[in-house]
Symmetry: C2
Subunit: 435 residues, 2 copies
C-alpha cells in the first residue's frame, strides 16, 4: 500500500518569525479611515485612544514584513503553532474526485479557532505599554475566548461583550471564557449607556456584533487602564493572521504541491486573509484562484456596496472604505455567528474590487450539510463558519470530477464546531431554512 | 532566551506498529472470567456471541506484542496519531515548582479523547468478520463518539445507549454522535426489555453505565448482524490503548527524561493502562511511581473490594475478578461521567493488589479547580476525568516545591472538556459539592 502523506507537520521552531503585510503589495493605495464626525481623513495617532500604540503603527504600515516579538512567537508555539496542514483523503474518496484537497487546521488552537494569533499579539502590545485591561466584543465566541486566554497568559483583565443571542445559545462559550478568567456579559448590556439605551427601547434585543462593538468602545473610552481589541477587519488584525499562510506555503512545498484554488470563509476577513495574503504577496501563486466563501444570509462581498461605512452600529468607529451591507444591517440569525457582520476588511474589499479574489455565497443548510460530510469522513466537526469553505471546496472537487481533471484545493479550517453543535442538531432535526 | 522544548512531536509514520500486552508481564496468572449463571470459568469462545472474534482471542492472549493491522494504523494516523507530548511550562511557572510536568495529549483526537484508539480497532475486527452494526453504551459520551466515528470510517452502523443523565446534560455529545451518523438513545430506553422494565418501575430513572451496558448487550444478542463493543475494563480494550504509552516513551527519550511519576485518571482504566502499561512492561521504569487518580465519589480502588463481580447491572456479563464497589452501586451524579463505574479492569486491579501501582481519590471541586488552573496556564480546558490526573500532578509538583527537589511528572490528558463546560460553569457558580 502506498502511503500518502496526509498530515504535514512543521516543528514548533518553524513558526514564522515575521508577519507579511499585504498593503505594499496592493495595486493601489488604500483609502484612509475617515473621522466619523467630520468625514475628514484620520491620522493614525487618533486611534491610539482606543488601540495599543504598536497596533496603530502597524495599521498604517507599508513595510513588507514586520518582526513577530519573541514573546509572542513563544506564546504562539505554546498554543500549538505551527498547525498541521492535512490532506482530506477520506473526503476525496467519498467524493470520488481526482482533486487533492488540503486543509489548514486552525481548529487545533486551544481556543478552537485562528483568533488566538492576533489576540495574543494585540494583548502583548497593550501589555508592553502598561495597559491592564482589554475590552472587546464577540459574536460566536471564538474571538472572546481567544482574548480571554491571551489576557490570562499575559496577566491582563479581559472584558467581553457577547452578542446576546450567541450568549444564550452558546452557554459553553461563556463558560470557557470565564474558565480563562475573563468577564463576559450579554450585549446589549446595562454596562454602557449605548447598551442601556437599546435595552430601554427593546429589553429583548438579540444583539448584533455592531452593537457589541459600540459597547466595548464606550467601555474603553471611559477607562484609562483599558484598550480595545478587535478580532477582524483592520489591517493589523489581518496582518497577525499571516502566520497561517506562511506555514501553509512551507507545508505545500514539503509535498510539492501548488494550489489551483485557495478557499477561506469570510466574515470580517481575518481567516481568509491569514491564509491567502502570504500567497497573494508572492510571485509563486499567480495561477492560483482565491475564493472567499460567505453566507447568503450576509452576502457582504457578493451583494454589498464598495463604499465608506462605519464598523459599528452606533457610528463610533472611523469610517472605512469597504464592501458593506450597511452599518444598520441586522443579518438573520444564522448559526455561523462569526460571519454575521455587515462589512469586510478594506484590504479584502480592494482585492475583490480589483478582481484578484473571487467570492461565493451559500445557504446554511448546504453549508452545514457539507460540515456533516466533513465530520463523517475526516472526523472533525467544523465550525459553521469554516463549513462555508468546506462547501466551496466540495463543490469545486465535484466540478473537477465532472471535468475529469486533477486539481489542488486548499481551504482554511478556521475552527472546530464543538461549541456549535446546536447548529448541527437543528440541521438534523430539520429546523433550519437554507438562508 | 533559552528555548525549552515544550511540544514533542513524532512523525505520523512513527505511530506504533504493535500493541503491548501487559498480561505476560504480570506476576501472577489472571483469574478467569466466570459464567454469570454457573460461576464456572468461561472458555474465551463463549464470548464470541458478543464480541468480535479477534477481540476474544486477544482477551486471552499471552503474547507480549500484537501487530496492529495496517488499516487500523492508517486510521489512527488519519485521526491524529501520534499525539503530542507537551511540557506544562506555564503551569510549572504558575506553581513555582522545580518539577518538570509533561502531559500526553489524547485531547487532539477528533472525538476529543483517547477512546478512538480501541473503537477503531474493535470496529475493524468486527467489520473483517462481516459484522454490519455495533452496539454499545456510553456515559460521558467520549466512548460513544469514538464508536460512531469508527463505524462511519468503516461503513458500519452504530447504536449507542447513552446514560440518560448524560444524554440530557450533554446534548452536544448526542449531536456529535449523530453528526457521525450514529444512532443515540437515552438509557434506560424502550428499545430493550431490560430498559422497559426499569422505566416501568421508575420512568425518571437517570440511568447508570451498568444499565446501559445491559441494554447494549441485550440489543447485540437479539441481532445476528450486530456485535457489542466495550470502551474499557477488558484486556483487549486496554491493549489497544498501549499506543499512548509507547509514543510517550519515544517522546520522553527525545528530551532525555525518565519520569519519577506517571499519573492517569481511572474509571474502567483504559486511559491509565494505555499510558502506563508499556512502561510497566519495560525494565527502564523500575524507579517510576504509577498513580491512578479516581473520584472520591466513586473510589473503586481506594475503597472497593478485590473480588469477583459483574460488569453490568443486570448480571448479564461474565464475572470478573476486580476491585469493585458492587455491581448495583449507583455513584453520585458527579461531572466526571467517564469515571462513574463500579469496577476497574482486572489487570489494573491485580497490579494495585500487588502494589505495583498506587491510587488517590479526590473530590470534584478540587479536581475541577485543578482543571481551571490548567486552562488558565496551558489554555486547554480538560475533561473532568482528565482533571483528576491534573489535580494529582499539581499536588505532586507542590510537594516537590516544598521539598525543594526536582522531579519529572508525566500525566495523561485523556480528553478535552469542550462538551463538559456545564461542569465548570456549575463550579464557578458555586453549585457543586466536593464529593
Amino acid at each position: 500500500m502506498t502511503q500518502v502523506k496526509t498530515r504535514i507537520l512543521l516543528d514548533p521552531e518553524e513558526t514564522p518569525k515575521h508577519f507579511i503585510n499585504i498593503v505594499p503589495y496592493l495595486r493601489r493605495k488604500l483609502d484612509p479611515p475617515l473621522n466619523p464626525l467630520t468625514d475628514e481623513p484620520m491620522p493614525p495617532e487618533a486611534l491610539e485612544a482606543i488601540f495599543a500604540r504598536e497596533c496603530v503603527k502597524q495599521e498604517a504600515s507599508t513595510e513588507k514584513r514586520i518582526r513577530i516579538p519573541e514573546e509572542v512567537r513563544e506564546g504562539l508555539m505554546h498554543f500549538s503553532r505551527p498547525t498541521p496542514l492535512q490532506r482530506a483523503i477520506r473526503l476525496e474518496k467519498y467524493l470520488k474526485t481526482p482533486a487533492r484537497i488540503y486543509f489548514k487546521r486552525e481548529d487545533v488552537s486551544p481556543t478552537g479557532s485562528h483568533k488566538l494569533n492576533t489576540a495574543l499579539t494585540q494583548a502583548y502590545y497593550a501589555q508592553q505599554q502598561g495597559v491592564e485591561r482589554l475590552a472587546t466584543e464577540t459574536g460566536a465566541g471564538q474571538w472572546g475566548s481567544a482574548v480571554a486566554l491571551s489576557c490570562s497568559y499575559l496577566g491582563l483583565e479581559a472584558m467581553v461583550y457577547m452578542v446576546r443571542i450567541s450568549y444564550d445559545q452558546k452557554k459553553y462559550r461563556g463558560a470557557l471564557m470565564r474558565s480563562y478568567g475573563g468577564e463576559v456579559v450579554p450585549s446589549p448590556s446595562t454596562r454602557t449607556e449605548f447598551g442601556r439605551k437599546i435595552l430601554t427601547e427593546n429589553p429583548d434585543h438579540p444583539g448584533t456584533l455592531g452593537i457589541a462593538i459600540s459597547e466595548a468602545l464606550e467601555d474603553t473610552m471611559k477607562s484609562d487602564r483599558t484598550k480595545y481589541t478587535l478580532g477582524s477587519v483592520l489591517n493589523h488584525v489581518l496582518l497577525h493572521q499571516t502566520v497561517i499562510g506562511q506555514e501553509t506555503i512551507e507545508q505545500l512545498n514539503m509535498v510539492e504541491e501548488t494550489p489551483d484554488e485557495v478557499i477561506g470563509c469570510v466574515g470580517g476577513g481575518s481567516n481568509f486573509a491569514g491564509l491567502s495574503y502570504p500567497m497573494l504577496a508572492s510571485d509563486d501563486f499567480t495561477n492560483t484562484k482565491f475564493i472567499a466563501a460567505e453566507p447568503s444570509a450576509c452576502p457582504t462581498l457578493t451583494e454589498g456596496r464598495y463604499c465608506y461605512d462605519f464598523g459599528d452600529t452606533a457610528g463610533m468607529t472611523p469610517k472605512l472604505k469597504m464592501y458593506s451591507l450597511g452599518a444598520s444591517f441586522t443579518p438573520p440569525k444564522i448559526h455561523a455567528g462569526g460571519l454575521r457582520y455587515h462589512g469586510v476588511a478594506p484590504t479584502i474589499s480592494m482585492l475583490y474590487e480589483d478582481k484578484k479574489i473571487e467570492a461565493k455565497a451559500y445557504g446554511q443548510i448546504d453549508v452545514l450539510n457539507a460540515g456533516i460530510t466533513f465530520a463523517k469522513t475526516e472526523g472533525i466537526i467544523p465550525a459553521p463558519e469554516s463549513a462555508h469553505a468546506i462547501k466551496t471546496a466540495i463543490d469545486s472537487a465535484l466540478d473537477a470530477k465532472e471535468n475529469g481533471r486533477e486539481k489542488v484545493i486548499v481551504f482554511g479550517l478556521s475552527g472546530h464546531g464543538h461549541f456549535d453543535m446546536l447548529a448541527y442538531e437543528a440541521l438534523m432535526q430539520g429546523e433550519l431554512e437554507n438562508t
